[in-house]
C-alpha cells in the first residue's frame, strides 16, 4: 500500500511538473498579450502600398502595441489594399481623425502599423475605417529616386559648369 502511494505521489509530481512546464512555455515564452480569445474591436484602413506587412503584425501607438493586423485584402472598388486590424478593448479611445502608417521596426525588422492620434472628440469604434493613411515606404523606390535625383543633379551641375565657357 505504501509503495502504491509513493508511486502515485511520484507520478503526480511528474504530471504537475510537465503541465507547469507547458504552461510556462505557453505564457512566458510566447508573445500572447491578449489572451486566447479574439476580443477587441476591428478597424480597417486602406493603403496604396502595404509593402511587406503581414497578418499578425503589431499595431502600435507611440510604440505601445495596442493590437494586431488581422487580414490584408485587395479592395477592387478603391484599387487599394485593405488592412483589417483588431484593437484591444483597453485602447478604445482612438480619435476618429487619427492617421495610420506602415513603418519598419529597425533597418531589417518586420513592418508594423503605427497610429498617430488626431484631435477629434469622437472615437473610432467597431468596423470603422480610418481616413488618413500613409503607405509603406518601399526601399527600392527610395533608392531609385535617390539615385535618379543624384544623376539629374550631376548632369545639371555639369551643364552649369560648361555654360560659362
Amino acid at each position: 500500500m505504501r509503495q502504491t502511494r509513493a508511486i502515485e505521489l511520484g507520478t503526480g509530481l511528474f504530471v504537475l511538473l510537465g503541465f507547469a512546464a507547458l504552461f510556462f512555455l505557453v505564457t512566458q515564452i510566447t508573445n500572447r498579450e491578449f489572451g486566447l480569445g479574439d476580443g477587441g474591436y476591428r478597424l480597417s484602413a486602406s493603403f496604396e502600398q502595404v509593402g511587406g506587412l503581414k497578418a499578425g503584425a503589431p499595431v502600435s501607438m507611440s510604440g505601445v502595441t495596442i493590437g494586431r493586423v488581422e487580414a490584408i485584402e485587395y479592395d477592387f472598388d478603391e484599387y487599394e489594399a485593405r488592412v483589417t486590424m483588431r484593437i484591444d478593448h483597453r485602447f478604445d479611445r482612438i480619435p476618429e481623425d487619427s492617421d495610420a502608417g506602415i513603418f519598419t521596426a529597425g533597418l531589417l525588422g518586420g513592418q508594423y502599423v503605427g497610429i498617430g492620434p488626431g484631435g477629434s472628440e469622437t472615437f473610432l469604434a467597431e468596423g470603422d475605417q480610418m481616413q488618413f493613411t500613409q503607405s509603406a515606404v518601399v526601399l527600392e523606390d527610395l533608392i531609385s529616386k535617390f539615385l535618379f535625383s543624384k544623376a539629374t543633379e550631376e548632369s545639371a551641375g555639369k551643364a552649369s559648369e560648361e555654360a560659362p565657357q
Binding site: I7, T11, L13, G18, A21, V26, I29, T30, N31
Partner: protein, 257 residues
C-alpha cells in the same frame, strides 16, 4: 548470382512490408482497446511512473546541458553578427521546435522504451503472457495497453520539461556567463516566439510518444522467448525508434513549417 541478389532484395522488401503491416494491425488493435484501457487508470498511472517519472532525472540533466551548449554555440555564432541579443530567440525556437521533442524522444526510447521491451520480452520468455491467456486474461489489455498509454502520455510532458530546462540552461550561459542583457534575452524571445511554435513542439512530441511506445511494446510483445530474443527486442526498439523519430521529424517539420 544476379538473380540471387534480386531475390534477396525482393525478400527483404517483402519482409519490410510485412513488418509495416504487422505494426499497423497491432497499432489498430491497441487503438480499439483504448476506451477500455482508460478505465483501468491505476495501471496507467503505474506505467507513467515507470516511463515518465523515472525518466525525469535524465531528461532534466540532458535538457540543462543541451540548453547550455545552445547558449554557448549560439552566443559564439550570433556575436559575429553583433546580434547576441537574439540568443534567447534562437535557443527557444531551437529547443521548442526541434531539440526538445527529438532529443527527448531519443532519450525516451533509450530509457523507457528499452525497459518496456525487455520487460515484455521477459514476460514472454518466462511464459507469463501465456499463463495470463490460460486464465482468460487478455495480456494485450492487461499488460501491453497500460504501458503503451502511459508511455504515450509521458512523452509530451517530458519534452515540455526538457524545453523549459533547456531555455533556463541557455539563459544561465548566455546571461550569467557571457553577459547578454537579460531584458533583451527574454523580451526578444517573447516577441519572436509564437504560440504556433510551442504547439509544433507539442504535436511532434505527442506523435513521437505514440511511435516510440508502440515500437517498444510491439518489439517486446513479439520477441522470441529466449535470452537472445529479449536482447534483440531491446536493440531493435532503440534502433527502430531512433530512425522512425528522425524520419517522422522531417515529415512533420515539412508539413507544419
Amino acid at each position: 548470382m544476379f538473380a540471387g541478389l534480386l531475390r534477396e532484395l525482393l525478400q527483404s522488401l517483402r519482409a519490410a512490408l510485412e513488418a509495416l503491416g504487422a505494426y499497423s494491425l497491432f497499432g489498430a488493435r491497441l487503438f480499439m482497446e483504448l476506451p477500455r484501457a482508460l478505465l483501468r487508470f491505476d495501471l496507467i498511472v503505474k506505467q507513467m511512473h515507470n516511463a515518465g517519472a523515472l525518466s525525469l532525472v535524465i531528461i532534466m540533466l540532458s535538457g540543462l546541458f543541451v540548453g547550455m551548449v545552445l547558449g554557448l554555440q549560439g552566443f559564439d555564432l550570433l556575436e559575429r553578427f553583433g546580434s547576441e541579443d537574439s540568443l534567447g530567440t534562437a535557443a527557444a525556437l531551437g529547443l521548442l521546435k526541434e531539440l526538445g521533442p527529438v532529443v527527448t524522444a531519443l532519450l525516451f526510447a533509450g530509457r523507457a522504451g528499452t525497459a518496456l521491451a525487455s520487460e515484455l520480452g521477459l514476460m514472454r520468455a518466462t511464459d507469463q503472457l501465456a499463463a495470463m491467456e490460460m486464465m482468460a486474461v487478455d495480456p494485450v489489455r492487461r499488460v501491453v495497453m497500460p504501458r503503451f498509454v502511459g508511455g504515450a502520455l509521458s512523452m509530451p510532458l517530458l519534452a515540455a520539461i526538457f524545453s523549459m530546462i533547456g531555455i533556463f540552461g541557455a539563459q544561465l550561459i548566455g546571461v550569467q556567463l557571457m553577459g547578454v542583457d537579460p531584458g533583451q534575452f527574454w523580451s526578444q524571445m517573447r516577441a519572436a516566439v509564437e504560440l504556433g511554435d510551442v504547439m509544433e513542439g507539442v504535436v511532434k512530441s505527442c506523435v513521437f510518444g505514440v511511435a516510440c511506445s508502440l515500437i517498444a511494446v510491439y518489439e517486446g510483445y513479439h520477441s522470441l522467448p529466449t535470452a537472445e530474443g529479449v536482447g534483440r527486442a531491446t536493440t531493435r526498439t532503440v534502433v527502430i525508434s531512433s530512425v522512425v523519430v528522425l524520419l517522422l521529424d522531417y515529415m512533420l517539420t515539412a508539413v507544419m513549417l
